[in-house]
């Protein structure tokens, strides 16, 4: 079988390196990266050719050269605000796209991307690896099979490091679209979009603050959202960047699901050996759970739809984006915002 040609567009996102490494290690995959737009990087951020060398992946200096190579598929890891242009460009070259989340910074951009890919006949997928978590799939099985009954409430938390230290653009609202609300709402919103089989979110309430990084970053760093669904469920999401920056773990994603026939709890990243290192005088965590990024990439590249779960599609990514937009309106007005 001919090797699959996969392009990595931009190293702006903190996940780009991990994706490139995983792709480079896959049999039957050839990887080529380009990261020409490093104008927004902060001093000290390793990008472009130097970063590709660290990762051990082939590199070209421009997107023109990358598309001239004829990629079958591309992974877009640019700043959020630059997703649209790169996705439209990939669509015009007939390449399937896996786009970092969130899909875009506005629903208007997201809708244009969905339309561009539809018109070009290419696949648009959004990078939500937690759909591939065995813990999530166990929840989904219980809910889909009816053994959990009707879902009454979901309490979810997706906390993490404040990412501005590794990539400054994450805390620039013009480039990221916002702060923690933009960055961390969509993972759980995406799981619930899948769990509830696209049941419409009917209203959104959100409150945010920047108590954690007051004076250091100009965006919200903590947020709580309450979403009501057409199926009757109510879900809350803690999207805060509240993981202390020197904590051994980057953060995590957990949900408690209260059904009328079962109460379930999942943690997508709690499979770890814990310890303490005398050498570094710090706590040690050794994650041993399955690599969700690898599962997602493999499904994007080779999936035939027969797996237990598919990669998030553009329409779903757009639904999550509309939730984020409503959440900002709610946080600004202090009111519940109707959606849909």
């Amino acid at each position: 079988m001919k090797d699959l040609k996969v392009g990595v567009l931009s190293f702006a996102h903190v996940h780009a390196g991990g994706f490139a490494r995983l792709l480079g290690a896959m049999d039957g995959v050839r990887v080529l990266a380009a990261d020409p737009d490093t104008d927004l990087a902060a001093p000290g951020e390793v990008r472009g050719k130097a970063f590709a060398a660290q990762l051990g992946v082939d590199y070209v200096d421009s997107y023109e050269e990358l598309f001239a190579w004829g990629p079958d598929k591309v992974v877009v890891c640019s700043e959020n605000v630059r997703h649209r242009a790169l996705v439209e460009r990939a669509a015009s070259h007939g390449a399937d796209v896996l786009c970092e989340k969130p899909l875009a910074t506005t629903p208007e951009d997201g809708a244009a991307m969905v339309e561009a890919c539809r018109a070009a006949g290419v696949r648009l997928a959004v990078a939500h690896p937690v759909r591939f978590s065995p813990a999530y799939l166990a929840v989904r099985e219980a809910v889909r099979a009816g053994t959990a009954g009707d879902v009454l409430a979901v309490s979810g938390a997706n906390n993490g490091y404040m990412p501005g230290g590794r990539r400054r653009w994450f805390v620039d609202p013009a480039l990221a679209g916002g702060g923690a609300l933009t960055d961390h709402t969509v993972h759980i919103a995406d799981l619930l979009d899948d769990l509830f089989e696209a049941s419409q979110v009917t209203s959104v309430y959100a409150q945010t603050n920047n108590v954690l990084y007051e004076g250091e970053v100009p965006v919200e760093t903590a947020g709580l959202l309450t979403l009501t669904y057409a199926n009757g469920a109510v879900a809350t999401i803690d999207c805060s960047w509240s993981q202390p920056r020197h904590h051994p773990a980057w953060g995590g994603l957990s949900m408690q699901i209260v059904g009328d026939r079962a109460t379930l709890e999942m943690d997508a990243f709690d499979q770890k050996v814990h310890g303490f290192s005398e050498a570094s005088r710090a706590g040690v965590e050794l994650p041993y759970g399955v690599d969700l990024d690898a599962l997602m990439l493999r499904e994007f590249l080779f999936g035939d739809g027969s797996g237990p779960v598919g990669v998030t599609d553009g329409a779903s990514g757009l639904r999550s984006l509309r939730i984020v937009e409503a959440a900002y309106e709610s946080a600004r007005t202090g009111r519940t915002v109707a959606v849909g």
Partner: protein, 338 residues
């Protein structure tokens, strides 16, 4: 400590938790209830001098302090009666179903110069007390985002719990514990949004589920999430918290740090056979000792009547929000003089 004469009103679950604490404090306890259980409870503790009476005036004649362990809808009248008789009052949480009633009770106590002590016992649970002490000392810096969960089986053993007209429902009866605690840690609450799902009507039976979720916005800008579950019969009682600030996080899961566990006991079901053993002093004993010391002129308890009123204010706002679907604003200044 001089011997304290305690009039315990009610003989249900919380009275049975308070009574051993009073006995441990050397109190002479008189019990009153309207369901016939006072006599049975007194008989079980007869060797400790516990007696039952049949009328409120008889109880008030004997007692220096009244401990109100009755359903919430009875709190106002019994508290006002006790205060009118010059007694200090311990009142089980919530103080009342409405802010107006709670404020009336607090005002009456202040006017009479007696203590009204809302029994928010979570303040005395050791993990929560450790959290509060650390946060007050700046352990995480200014709290930014706080999460609390509280779950257990649906309290079908006392049907009034499941009737929002009598208990306020899960938001007011159960989640008020964490509303009070969130306010303790992050300060006054200015906005509340809440939703409830599941069985919210009277007549709940084992197997029914009710759940509530609330987001509090504090005057400081901090935000708190509270999840409450009255769940299936096998839902183990469990509380969790996670408090994050610029200086770090503090988190706890009551089922993860039990100290002692029965790992196997053959065919006997859990809860039978080998009993659990308390790892720390009963929080009810800590709570009532603090009150008893205050009655004798010692330091005032860590929970004030105003705290009890404010907890009701948050809970009532949550209940209103759950009805309307809209957030409810709270003015923090109006109780300043209480």
């Amino acid at each position: 400590m001089a011997r304290l004469d305690v009039g315990l009103i009610g003989a249900g679950g919380i009275a049975r938790a308070h009574l051993p604490a009073w006995i441990a404090l050397g109190a002479r306890v008189t019990i009153l209830s309207t369901d016939g259980n006072a006599e049975k409870l007194a008989a079980r503790h007869a060797e400790s001098g516990v007696t039952a009476v049949r009328g409120l005036s008889e109880l008030l004649d004997r007692a220096a302090v009244v401990d109100l362990c009755t359903p919430t809808f009875t709190h106002r009248q019994l508290t006002l009666d006790a205060i009118a008789a010059g007694k200090h009052v311990v009142c089980e949480k919530p103080l009342a179903l409405t802010v107006a009633e709670a404020r009336e009770m607090a005002d009456a106590a202040e006017a009479a110069g007696v203590l009204l002590f809302p029994a928010h016992v979570v303040r005395y649970f050791p993990a929560y007390a450790a959290l509060a002490e650390s946060v007050a000392a700046g352990g995480v810096g200014a709290p930014a985002v706080l999460r609390f969960t509280r779950s257990g089986s649906y309290p079908v053993w006392a049907p009034w719990f499941g009737d929002p007209a009598l208990s306020g429902g899960i938001l007011v009866d159960q989640m008020i514990h964490d509303f009070d605690f969130a306010r303790l840690l992050a300060g006054d609450v200015v906005r509340v949004h809440a939703q409830v799902r599941g069985r919210q009507e009277p007549g709940a039976r084992a197997g029914d589920v009710a759940t509530g979720t609330a987001v509090l916005t504090h005057a400081s800008g901090a935000v708190s999430h509270v999840l409450g579950v009255w769940g299936l019969p096998d839902l183990q009682f469990r509380t969790t918290f996670r408090v994050a600030g610029p200086g770090g996080i503090l988190e706890h899961d009551s089922t993860a740090h039990t100290g002692f566990r029965v790992l196997a006991q053959g065919t006997r079901p859990l809860g039978e056979g080998i009993p659990g053993s308390p790892m720390t002093e009963s929080p009810y004993l800590t709570e009532l000792r603090e009150f008893a010391v205050a009655v004798e002129g010692g330091p005032v308890p860590r929970v004030s009547a105003r705290d009890g009123v404010e907890a009701v204010r948050i809970a009532a706002a949550a209940a209103e929000s759950a009805r309307t679907g809209e957030p409810v604003e709270i003015k923090v200044t109006e109780e300043a003089g209480l």
